[in-house]
Amino acid sequence: MKRNNRVRLLAVLGVLALVAAACGGTKKDSSSSTTTAKKTLSPGPGFDGTTIHVGVITPLTGPVAVIGNPLTSGTETWFKYINEEKGGIGGKYKVVVDKEDSQYKPDLGVQAYNKIKANEVVFAQLLGTPVTKAVLQQLRADQIVAAPASLDADWVRDKNLLPVGGPYEIQMINAADYLVNEGGFKGKTMCTMIQDDAYGQSGQRGVDFAAKDLGFTVKTTAKYAAGNPDFTAQIQQLKSSACEVVFLVGTPSDTAKLMGTAAQLQFVPQWVGQSPTWTGAFAKSPLAPYLQAHFMLAAEGTEWGDTSVKGMADMLDRIQKYTPSQQPDIYFVFGYYQARAVTALLEKAVELGDLSRAGVLAAVDKMQKTSFDGLTGDYEYGPPGTRNPPRQTTIYKVDPAKPGGLAKVKYEYTSASAKKYEFKSLP
């Protein structure tokens, strides 16, 4: 019993210490960030007083490594820039990126999370909807904030997650609106082809919303399991329905096979892919002529090398300095601007004077509109209930002559339908 009392006493003292620290933080909030940056922050998990550790859980090996590796390279390039040119977060705290391989498997993602969580201030990248969903409950229990490298709409209202970019639903709504109102596809037969899982459903939700709002119907939905060995049945299904537009939700490995099958079966609708359907290698493959004629991509930002967009010009400069061997890759760009959002969060936590987990979580609510200089739409952060993600989507066509194989058709297209879409909270 005495032992229990001692434990309780220690717990009470601990809580009092936290309250005192929090009060201190609040007090610092009123001072300028420069003043705060000069103060020494208390060490905590992942922060030794001088260095901030951020975790990255991503597929470094396996089929999705084609996304995970360039995305992580983007994250590292951004933090190299912050460390070298800005002196670190708040001008003084260098950032160290700790990478773990998830192979895109939720169980390995959870293992990786548990392995490094004690030594991380935040997770700067959790790649993929399945991995993020697997880790989410633990993030909540551990009071850790993570940035999901996935455009799932479920993340928008979650306090422990720091999403970037327009969610998949927005991509599909804007793409549908563009085709109907500007692309000359009004009255055409619309269909979808989706990966049969939560990721596929996100795109389907967007198309269904657009259908209701714009007054068209989705005639056929062909579904497939990721890694499907043959797409003849699905393509025949769409062909039999005389689909003239097909909204595609998948990953590059399946896109390659199904586009090859579509070309061979002389099925020539207007395909519109959600951003993760694409990889730059397609532009130099035998599929390129078919894709040039029949494929569009709904994604973020601008084409690689478009220096008229400030964010792209800055990024290319930094690539020259810190990652000169980097090839054009849309996933690199995602990792780069995602790290920028994480930096905004850490800067806010430093400004508030608290890099503890509770401090970073509190900083999430205090974040404001964050600009990405045109690499993706500006994100209105703040308390999760009031967050407003970007509503714009860039429509690309395939152009093998362009770096990365994509040329923008419509930069940051924002439809009235996309503005109406409401995001719900996860249970």
Partner: protein, 298 residues
């Protein structure tokens, strides 16, 4: 009718692909009694070796395939010589675990050497096709079917008429008796791994051709081909081919017709159907369609 013919052609091509993978499994099992879980790794290695011979060494595509088959066959023989031979006489479970370990090693070597990016195989077939009536026959699928048929015929002639083939059959039938008759069991084991490597190369090339591109996930086809091997009979090349074709057709026709006529079975039933067929056939013929019935004294 067009739908049926189109789906049947696709199923036949998919089955031929499974057959090429399955033949690699069967040749090793027939000679050594080992189920080689590293076969998917050999498919992967064979595909990347072909890419390397063609793109890096500049060898014409059609010539790069036999060169890569020889190289992958040599790797297979080396693996047998260095690793598997030391496991002779060890528990089957231990040998299987070694082949699983080899799968991971090959995967790491391949991704460490060529990376994870999707590579263009550079095959001349691309998305070319023939049209017969209303049915589209893709060139890469026709090549896959033809190669599987050729390999099957080659296996038949090899086992029937060549001294090495007869030696392999004898070793598989009774190892001790074969050794007593002057047959080198070691040579037979090494040869079976070499042949498995060569056939795996063909599977790897066909998987990555026709616009699909070469990427590490092609190794997963070995898992998809597994029902074909079991269904046909683990030690029967003819069974591997027939099993492959049955599974390919089952999968494609189910994917084509189940959503229309039996949607209540749920999405993705086409990937379950091969296992349903496998279970049904194994209930009737426990050693597969052409497998050798094992007699045990109890």
């Amino acid at each position: 009718m067009t739908d049926f013919l189109q789906l049947s052609f696709a199923g036949l091509a998919l089955g031929a692909l499974y057959a090429l993978v399955a033949l690699g499994f069967v040749i090793i099992y027939k000679a050594t009694g080992v189920i080689n879980f590293a076969q998917g790794g050999l498919v992967l290695l064979g595909g990347y070796l072909t890419y390397n011979v063609h793109h890096t060494w500049g060898v014409p595509f059609y010539l790069s395939i036999p060169v890569a088959m020889i190289l992958c066959g040599m790797v297979g023989a080396a693996v047998e010589r260095v690793v598997l031979r030391r496991m002779v006489g060890q528990p089957v479970f231990a040998v299987i675990m070694v082949t699983i370990g080899l799968l991971f090693v090959i995967e790491q070597v391949v991704t460490g050497t060529w990376g994870f990016n999707r590579l263009n195989m550079g095959d001349p077939w691309g998305i070319k096709k023939f049209t017969v009536g209303d049915v589209q026959l893709s060139v890469v699928n026709l090549w896959t079917i033809m190669l599987a048929a050729l390999v099957m015929a080659g296996f038949f002639l090899f086992f029937r008429y060549s001294r090495l083939g007869v030696a392999m059959r004898a070793t598989a039938f009774d190892q001790e008796a074969a050794i007593a008759n002057g047959i080198s069991a070691r040579r037979v084991f090494a040869l079976s791994w070499a042949i498995a490597g060569a056939v795996a190369t063909l599977a790897g090339v066909m998987l990555a051709s026709g616009g699909s591109g070469l990427s590490p996930e092609i190794e997963f086809v070995a898992l998809l081909a597994f029902p074909a091997i079991i269904l046909g009979g683990l030690d029967s090349p003819a069974g591997a081919v027939l099993g492959g074709v049955i599974i390919g057709l089952t999968q494609t026709l189910t994917a084509g017709y189940q959503p229309r006529y039996a949607d209540w079975l749920g999405n993705g039933f086409s990937s379950v159907m091969p296992y349903v067929v496998m279970i049904v056939i194994l209930l009737i013929r426990p050693y597969g369609l052409f497998g050798t019935k094992e007699v045990r004294r109890v």
